[in-house]
């Protein structure tokens, strides 16, 4: 289980404080797939960053009773000046995993081939997303935090992500921030709409989608 209690987060720009999260209460149970819906700027990414421990909330608590991935997205979690392989090595070291297993998985999953020997900052955004996905799936977590990247890449890669994430890891919990209602409908058990800094729960995913579409 991962639970947030009364989470608040604000950002400062100059002297103005912008309150993004105004008291979020959300519990994700083991194996549960929760969709985070909301308009751009509603705080979906912000909430995912707090859940992942990337940023720390102003107030409130996060209780973690299962391991969670870092937020899976375009940029996070790797170093641009290092090569794909160096990044894989780094991830293997800090998570205490076997390097050869991770290397094999990343090679196979990302299909980046010789590009893995080049610095990540030379990658296109699609290539970055492939690497990001490969690295985060190479480590096993109880809960995956997914920030909007499901639809990147070509059809083939899209299919692979789907298989790895939603078939092979169907027993894991996921928090998915997405604007793609098809995925939400297909995969998620619950949907939450972020609006005005508060999380609104709904009885069913369909109901949440209907409300979201009317936003």
């Amino acid at each position: 289980m991962i639970a947030c209690q009364n989470l608040t987060k604000s950002y400062r720009s100059g002297h103005v404080r912008h309150q993004v999260l105004k008291g979020i209460n959300l519990t994700v149970q083991r194996g549960e797939k929760v969709a985070l819906l909301g308009r751009n700027g509603a705080g979906k990414s912000t909430l995912i960053k707090q859940l992942g421990g990337v940023e720390l909330p102003d107030r409130g608590r996060i209780i973690r009773k299962m391991t969670n991935s870092w937020p899976i997205g375009f940029s996070g979690g790797f170093q641009g000046s290092l090569t794909g392989y160096d990044n894989a090595r780094f991830i293997a070291r800090i998570y205490g995993s076997r390097l050869d297993a991770i290397k094999a998985f990343v090679e196979d999953f990302s299909e980046l081939g010789s590009a893995l020997r080049r610095p990540v900052h030379t990658y296109s955004s699609g290539m970055r997303a492939r690497l990001a996905f490969a690295l985060s799936l190479a480590i096993e977590f109880d809960c995956y935090l997914i920030d909007e990247v499901i639809l990147v890449g070509d059809a083939n890669f899209h299919r692979k992500c789907h298989t790895e994430l939603f078939d092979k890891r169907r027993d894991r919990a996921m928090v998915i921030a997405s604007h793609d209602m098809q995925i939400v409908n297909e995969v998620c058990d619950r949907a939450v709409i972020l609006r005005d800094g508060v999380a609104h729960e709904f009885a069913s995913v369909e109901e949440a989608i209907a409300v979201y579409n009317a936003l």
């Binding site: 950002y11 400062r12 960053k49 992942g52 421990g53 990337v54 940023e55 720390l56 102003d58 870092w70 937020p71 940029s75 996070g76 979690g77 790797f78 170093q79 000046s81 290092l82 160096d86 090595r89 780094f90 991830i91 070291r93 800090i94 998570y95 205490g96």
Partner: protein, 260 residues
């Protein structure tokens, strides 16, 4: 709740992974790699030592001038480069915060350790080369040499923690750091011995914990002839509160850190 043992294992793993990462990003894998970290202090120490020798003659304060300058300059360069490596290091490494087992202190510690090891290697190297050539005396007491280094390193680390945090909180601080570390020169004890100062100047110099460390090192190398002045308690009494302040500030900065 992970046990202490597990925590320690994670800590060791994180530090060593960060160390490798930092070394590869800074020095690459080409040519001499990590040995570059020695290059700057070595060049500084040798060139400044030779300059002083030309200006002031072969000895100063009754000891050989080249080892005197080299032994003072390398710790000073350590202080300056470690503190400036700390500046804005949290923002620069924001992407590492994606991994919850990495703490901001790990970043600083790794940067500090790389500087410390590099400068100590440079020191050892220069002392051995000069020693073989007959310009560097056999240390009078290695224990004091090491102790002096420890005091100097402690001082450097505690200042680095405070400066690294402050540089994230204020642009102005980031800008004045180079000037302030330059002004540290007279308070580093690098270019004089306390016993040669006037009593008034000596009492001012001894407010700086770095001077205590430097006097210990000099005593360790040159022996009682330089009449060292140092205290064991005062530098610790200065550095520990400074370090505590640094830790509090780092915590504050971490809380506010915005990561892309």
């Amino acid at each position: 709740m992970p046990s202490l043992r597990q925590g320690w294992d994670i800590q060791v793993r994180v530090i060593s992974a960060l160390m490798v990462r930092e070394l590869t990003t800074r020095f690459g894998r080409e040519n001499i790699g990590f040995l570059w970290v020695m290059a700057e202090p070595l060049l500084f120490a040798v060139l400044v030592g030779l300059l002083w020798r030309m200006m002031k003659g072969p000895t100063d304060y009754g000891v050989d001038i080249v080892p005197f300058v080299a032994s003072g300059y390398i710790p000073l360069v350590l202080f300056r480069s470690a503190v400036s490596r700390g500046v804005k290091s949290f923002t620069a490494n924001g992407s590492l915060m994606y991994h919850r087992q990495i703490k901001v202190l790990d970043l600083l510690l790794v940067r500090f350790l790389i500087e410390l090891i590099g400068h100590m290697m440079a020191y050892l190297f220069i002392a051995s080369v000069l020693g073989v050539l007959g310009f560097f005396p056999l240390p009078h007491d290695v224990g004091f040499l090491v102790l002096g280094w420890l005091y100097y390193a402690l001082f450097t680390l505690s200042v680095m923690l405070v400066v690294a945090a402050l540089s994230e909180l204020s642009e102005a601080i980031e800008k004045i750091v180079p000037v302030v570390t330059y002004l540290m020169i007279p308070f580093s004890g690098a270019f004089y011995i306390v016993s040669a100062l006037s009593p008034a100047a000596a009492s001012v110099a001894l407010y700086s914990p770095a001077v205590h460390g430097m006097e210990m090192m000099r005593y360790g190398i040159f022996g009682p002839s330089i009449d060292p002045h140092f205290d064991y308690i005062y530098p610790v009494g200065f550095c520990l509160p400074c370090m505590a302040l640094g830790l509090v500030l780092c915590r504050m900065v971490r809380k506010r850190l915005v990561i892309e």
